[in-house]
């Protein structure tokens, strides 16, 4: 699915201007990280993607069609949006009921709902908990449930706000597998995150917002190779790039494997006794 945003402006009632002319397009199978410091307009931007906020000026097009005349519940069919705190959406008495809530609202046939919900729960490791009361579960389990219930809506685009907050490394691996699956099915994934290690290893493109404007839009190496930009946007380097940059490797080495490969390329002979680089 293609999402296009044209010159989006938005100010809150309080007078705070959150977006001052943002334009971007995303296409099928892209996994895009939306980064920037707190209050940079990230959440405001994604709320425009499914009509929760309406632009003061500019427009949002989904597959070329403006969203202006569509209700949120209609756009929900195409773009699903996960908020940060799972407790702001969990409203049913069991894990299963919670997962089918979205698909039921979208009016899918019953059999499809059952399949989608079981698949989503399985993907997030919640199958055994389907009859439990969500509020008897721990925070990270509720967070996974919220992700599963968004996934079950089977939309062409998925927007996730801080999906890794509160998850441990095992749970993050589940999430990574889910994102890979979405990408392989040509879905568009947009992730707001402060977790640069997660971004580095799972996203293909970054959009950085600051002061309501787009500060950067492009591949991750371009972002991580610009220290001034990172500082201005309050971002830190992923651990892999921290090592790589100090060793003079280019910032396109985003995984430990890539960094290690870079090291051996730099120094094919391991017996050498010179320091690799000076910091």
């Amino acid at each position: 699915m293609d999402i296009e945003i044209r010159d989006l402006h938005f100010s809150y009632e309080s007078g705070v201007q959150a977006l001052a002319g943002v334009s971007l397009t995303t296409g099928r199978g892209e996994t895009v990280a939306l980064v920037g410091h707190n209050g940079s307009g990230k959440s405001t931007l994604v709320k425009h993607l499914n009509g929760l906020l309406r632009p003061d000026a500019g427009e949002v097009l989904i597959d070329g069609k403006p969203t202006a005349d569509l209700r949120v519940a209609q756009i929900a069919r195409r773009v699903a949006l996960l908020f940060q705190n799972p407790d702001n959406q969990i409203c049913k008495g069991t894990v299963w009921e919670e997962t089918v809530f979205g698909p039921k609202n979208l009016g899918y046939p019953e059999e499809k709902i059952r399949d989608l919900a079981s698949d989503s729960l399985a993907a997030l490791g919640l199958t055994e908990m389907r009859d439990r009361n969500p509020h008897d579960l721990g925070f990270s389990e509720r967070k996974r449930l919220a992700i599963a219930s968004i996934l079950a809506m089977n939309t062409e685009a998925v927007v996730l706000d801080e999906p890794t907050a509160g998850l441990d490394s095992g749970e993050i691996k589940l999430l990574e597998a889910v994102l890979r699956g979405l990408r392989d099915h040509g879905r568009t994934v947009l992730v707001i995150s402060h977790d640069m290690d997660f971004v580095a290893e799972n996203m293909t493109r970054a959009i950085c917002l600051g002061q309501g404007r787009k500060q950067y839009d492009g591949g991750l190496p371009g972002l991580f190779g610009d220290p001034a930009l990172l500082k201005r946007c309050g971002l830190v380097l992923p651990q892999t790039v921290q090592v790589g940059s100090r060793l003079g490797l280019s910032p396109d080495r985003l995984t430990p494997e890539a960094v290690a490969a870079g090291l051996s390329e730099k120094r094919p002979s391991p017996s050498g006794d010179h320091p690799a680089t000076s910091p």
Partner: protein
């Protein structure tokens, strides 16, 4: 006298199928910075609760064994008296506010007011806490209009003001951005230098590697790992308790596989450790 002394501690929640903590025994000497790591549901929060008196005082459940904080048996000491020796900072910055103080300054003073500290002393201690957390500029703001990171600093300042020898923190940085998390750890580091005993449950292993003197790894309520960070965080057993090495460690391990790491040199868990190790080769 150890700051914390745990003997054979077990705790089972009323609806729990297995114990949240299972025959835990350990002592922590005063002035140490101890990190508690583990997957979700490994028992980190329950341990923090047991170290601050929340268990057994405020949670129903089966409590066995003995926990002493600065010599006080927590099961036998009223919680208001325990508050003199241990302060607790929770994961969620917002729900740990007193809820009845309208400014940051008054919020920080809340614990002192409850202890009956006289006003001049209170002012001194509140100012010092504001200073050491960098909150002086926000002193007259409403705590309910602050960001998560700022709120977490308010919670820390409140703990600093009551000046307890022991400080327990339960995943204080989970909901914070990296910059705020770094600031929190910097404050904790200064507190440690001032002689506080600090126990922090934490998922950010890179921060743990930088600041902790000792790391406790929990797995299903049991103490699975215990040692200095440079041992625990690079131990292969870390994966057995559901955690991953930091990427610094992983890079070093891959380098070792490729022969780019000194033979028999230990793996590091910090950026500097990795850089130094690679430089040495």
């Amino acid at each position: 006298m150890p700051a914390i002394d745990i003997r054979n501690l077990s705790f089972t929640h009323p609806a729990g199928k297995r114990p949240a903590l299972d025959s835990l025994s350990l002592t922590i000497e005063p002035g140490r910075f101890t990190a508690v790591i583990g997957a979700n549901n490994a028992g980190k929060t329950t341990l923090c609760h047991a170290l601050s008196g929340v268990i057994p005082h405020l949670f129903p459940g089966t409590f066995e064994g003995r926990v002493r904080i600065c010599g006080n048996d927590i099961a036998e000491t009223p919680i208001s008296k325990l508050a003199l020796s241990v302060a607790f900072v929770m994961q969620n910055p917002e729900s740990q506010l007193s809820g009845i103080r309208f400014t940051v300054r008054d919020e920080i003073a809340f614990g002192l007011e409850n202890q009956g500290v006289d006003r001049p002393e209170m002012l001194r201690r509140v100012d010092r806490a504001l200073e050491s957390t960098g909150l002086a500029d926000l002193a007259d703001r409403s705590p309910h209009h602050l960001s998560g990171g700022q709120l977490q600093k308010v919670a820390l300042a409140a703990a600093i003001a009551v000046d307890t020898p022991v400080l327990i923190l339960d995943e204080p940085t989970t909901f914070l951005d990296p910059a705020s998390a770094t600031e929190i750890f910097a404050i904790l580091r200064r507190l440690k230098q001032n002689g506080k005993t600090i126990v922090v449950a934490e998922q950010r292993l890179d921060s743990v590697a930088l600041h902790a003197d000792r790391v406790l790894g929990l797995h299903q309520g049991r103490l699975a790992l215990d040692g200095p960070p440079e041992e625990v965080l690079v131990s292969p057993a870390l994966r057995e308790i559901g955690l991953d090495w930091t990427r610094f460690t992983r890079i070093a391990a891959l380098a070792r596989d490729k022969g780019l790491w000194q033979k028999d040199a230990p793996l590091p868990a910090t950026l500097e450790g990795t850089l130094n190790g690679l430089a040495k080769n």
